[in-house]
């Protein structure tokens, strides 16, 4: 079930294009279902805490939109004349926020799939030679993210031990030690890279990444989907004009369906070295 990292990258680009160009709720729902289906075969590999972040992120535009926008004809209720939040609260604004939120949720979902299926080291390996060092730096920086969260927790605990509060207001004071810890670790990392001979001219691969039929199907499917989405008239949705979305056209449905290729080909296993190490 290991797929070529480049195939995943093409798929992710196509899925992101679909998520941002088509704002039709039916298409968005279909795309979300497809992404979940693609993710399922890999879900055992990683805990899916990231979905929570996605949902939280999706809620933000709804709240902002409904609380701040005064447009729309379907009034929910009217607040007295309070600054910022006073006035008419409308369904239209809430739906508009939800539409933006859905696009954000889809983005998070695509990255969740990418993070689970592609190892950062493999991503670095497929970069062209000249970008090798830059790409590695980025990959290493990404690898630091979870460690940074861990040190944030330990710094917060340390502050509690010293009788300082660990609330929101202490955030600026947390930032400096966090930065220092991360920087120190980065320096140690750099030393380790150096000591292990990183950055020399020659380089070989311990795990070669051959292409399989499934990889090709995913790339072809994704490219076709992108082409269709870009060339066809977009399926816009503006709740302020009409709360009820239009029915998506058959070609646009088919285009989004093409993005299910990784799920459809999940059964094709690759009997080679890389699969053996999965």
């Amino acid at each position: 079930m290991i797929r070529h990292p480049l195939a995943w990258c093409v798929w992710a680009t196509a899925a992101l294009a679909a998520a941002f160009i088509d704002r039709n709720p039916f298409l968005q729902a279909l795309l979300l279902l497809i992404i979940i289906n693609v993710f399922i075969p890999y879900s055992a590999a990683r805990r899916i805490r990231i979905w929570k972040i996605g949902l939280a992120l999706a809620a933000v535009p709804i709240i902002f939109s409904v609380a701040l926008s005064r447009f729309g004809t379907h009034v929910l209720f009217t607040l007295p004349d309070i600054p910022i939040i006073g006035g008419r609260w409308t369904v239209d604004a809430a739906v508009f926020g939800a539409s933006t939120g859905a696009a954000l949720l889809l983005t998070v979902a695509v990255f969740a799939v990418l993070q689970t299926t592609v190892r950062s080291a493999d991503l670095v390996a497929i970069l062209p030679r000249p970008f090798y060092r830059a790409g590695t730096t980025v990959a290493l920086a990404l690898a630091f993210a979870p460690k940074t969260v861990a040190s944030l927790h330990s710094i917060q605990e340390a502050r509690r031990l010293r009788g300082q509060h660990a609330g929101w207001r202490s955030a600026p004071q947390l930032l400096l030690p966090l930065l220092l810890t991360t920087l120190e670790r980065a320096l140690q990392y750099g030393e380790s890279l150096d000591a292990r001979g990183f950055g020399s001219r020659r380089r070989s691969r311990y795990r070669p990444l051959p292409w399989s039929i499934a990889d090709l199907l995913i790339v072809v499917g994704s490219l076709a989907a992108v082409a269709a989405i870009v060339l066809m008239p977009p399926q816009p949705y503006n709740p302020y004009l009409d709360l009820v979305p239009g029915v998506p056209t058959v070609p646009s449905l088919l285009a989004v369906l093409l993005l299910a290729m990784p799920a459809l080909t999940a059964g094709l296993s690759r009997m080679d070295h890389a699969a053996h190490h999965a």
């Binding site: 340390a158 140690q188 030393e191 150096d194 020659r202 070989s204 311990y206």
Partner: protein, 549 residues
């Protein structure tokens, strides 16, 4: 011809006042095992980093003399070129990995050398067997324990077939069992492959019998000696060497096996009385007032604390009364039927315990036995799900990673708001940046910041990574605080240090306390938690100075 030659090496870090290394000259022959000793901050890491060119290439600074590694001058060759010759294992188990899983990590160095795939495959299999990590090969690095990571790091260093292995305190961040596993690997490589090895290590008792030379660093000055001469002179050394020097054994035994021959001449001590049969846990005699460690000499002024501000902080203040001589000391903290579970694991189950003033209690047990959780519960950092905790004083908890406590830009700022008697001993450091202090110095500062005035001190693995002098000073400080009426509970894996410091030992497993009593009783009746002397002599004798010779 020597494999590595150092010729008049001097080095000064950028903007440092004094040099880190002063005119170091030495040579390493193929197959030699070198033990590098010295107090923290004496330049051990700096010297080791000279061997693969990290000093001066990645640190900058002022470098003098030259280092030849397999004929290559480190000034002209970058660390990444020397990486093919020197396998380097760093102190911190988590900062040296680049990729996500074990096998990829093992191959990383070889990929950088551009070795062909079939050769890489073969070597990966070989190092997996040499280091004994076949069960770890599919694991992700971030799921490994510290000891497992260090073994993977050794295997990764070994895979490039280096001419020498350089290890910078590889066990200082590990518990004793993990440290033992890592040292076992090193010893096997030395014995089976004749691997040229340079290792900085505080835990000398395991490797002392194996080494060819001992290098001792003091303020950047290197002394290169044969092992017996070096150990006889001082510094970190195994307890059996202390005993041998007291008893006048010659030649000095370096390990337990050599020492057994001499130990048979010692008068046989009577076996220590077995524990009473009780319910649940083994009841050993507990220290009564004036008993136990009361005969233990309290540190005299000026002893073992020359470089230890905290020990000076206690002076004068805590000498008013020795609670152990004042009859039964009052109970400071009482814990009853404590229960705590998280993530479905019962971390603490049914623990009842009272801690008295003047008592230093060592809490021992394997990793995951619930020691840290128990300390955090007593400190009030966790809320017990069942049971009660009554404490008559402010509790202070010093976590394992004391570094996390320090994040101001100067020592002075860290100590802001503390009373003058806490500040005073740190006078010389006030302008320094806390993270530039050595690990021992940071530990002292952390204790001062959190616990200088608390009466109930809870310390989690305070000796991890400390050199023997600082450990001794820490011991002196804690004894002094106890004499002044504090109650101290220390979660520790360090048996030798616990035997010197504590007057009560608790053993914990699966969240329960299963043994409780005087160190002599608990530690001499144990296979795992026994000091080297108690393994050698038995009969409740734990330390070299307790053995009649």
């Amino acid at each position: 011809m020597p494999l590595i030659t150092l010729e008049g090496v001097g080095y000064r870090y950028p903007e440092a006042e004094r040099p880190a290394l002063v005119d170091v000259s030495a040579a390493i022959e193929p197959g030699q095992v070198i033990l590098l000793r010295g107090p923290s901050g004496s330049g051990k890491s700096t010297l080791l980093r000279c061997l693969n060119g990290l000093v001066p290439h990645s640190t900058g600074g002022e470098f003098r003399g030259r280092v030849l590694v397999c004929g290559l001058d480190t000034r002209a060759h970058a660390p990444r070129e020397l990486g093919a010759h020197i396998g380097f294992v760093f102190q911190h188990p988590d900062a040296q990995f680049v990729l996500e899983d074990v096998e990829a990590e093992l191959a990383f160095g070889m990929e950088n050398l551009g070795l062909p795939l079939p050769l890489m495959r073969k070597r990966v299999e070989e190092v997996i067997d040499q280091v004994g990590i076949n069960h770890l090969r599919r694991r992700r690095i971030d799921t490994l324990s510290g000891g497992e990571r260090q073994r993977v790091a050794i295997a990764a260093a070994l895979a490039v077939h280096p001419q020498a292995l350089v290890l910078d305190e590889p066990t200082s961040q590990l518990d004793p069992q993990a440290a033992e596993d890592v040292l076992q690997v090193v010893m096997r490589l030395v014995a089976e492959l004749g691997m040229t090895t340079v290792i900085a290590e505080h835990r000398v008792e395991r490797i002392a019998p194996l080494v060819d030379r001992i290098w001792t660093l003091d303020f950047g000055v290197l002394k290169d000696q044969p092992p017996r001469a070096a150990l006889a002179e001082g510094g970190a050394r195994p307890p059996v060497v202390d005993l041998a020097l007291r008893a006048g054994w010659s030649p000095i035994p370096l390990g337990l096996r050599d020492a057994r021959v001499y130990a048979q001449r010692l008068p046989k001590p009577p076996p220590y009385p077995p524990p009473r049969a009780g319910e649940g846990k083994a009841h050993y005699p507990l220290p009564r007032a004036g008993e136990g460690k009361a005969h233990y000499p309290l540190p005299r002024a000026g002893e073992g604390k020359a470089d230890y501000p905290l020990a000076r902080a206690g002076e004068g203040k805590f000498h008013q009364g020795d609670f152990r001589e004042a009859g039964a000391a009052p109970v400071l903290c009482r814990v009853e039927n404590l229960e705590y579970r998280y993530n479905g694991v019962q971390a603490v189950r049914g623990v009842s315990l009272s801690v008295r003033r003047g008592q230093v209690t060592a809490l021992m047990g394997r990793n995951g036995s619930g020691k840290t959780t128990l300390l955090k519960l007593i400190a009030g950092l966790l809320r017990p799900q069942r049971g009660t905790i009554q404490a008559d004083a402010r509790a202070a908890y010093v976590p394992q990673d004391a570094d996390a406590l320090l994040f101001a830009s100067t020592v002075e700022e860290e100590l802001r708001g503390q009373p003058p008697d806490v500040m005073a001993p740190f006078h010389a450091w006030l302008r320094r940046y806390p993270r530039d202090l050595s690990s021992g110095e940071r530990q002292q500062l952390a204790i001062a910041v959190v616990a200088a005035h608390a009466d109930l001190l809870l310390l989690d693995e305070p000796t991890r990574g400390l050199d023997p002098q600082v450990k001794q000073a820490l011991s002196a400080f804690l004894r002094m605080r106890a004499a002044g009426g504090a109650a101290i509970v220390i979660a520790t894996h360090d048996v030798e240090w616990a035997a010197r410091t504590a007057d009560r030992v608790l053993l914990m497993a699966e969240g329960e306390i299963y043994a409780d009593g005087l160190p002599a009783a608990v530690l001499s009746d144990s296979l795992v938690f026994a000091t080297q002397i108690s393994k050698l002599v038995g009969g409740g004798l734990l330390l070299p100075n307790e053995v009649p010779v």
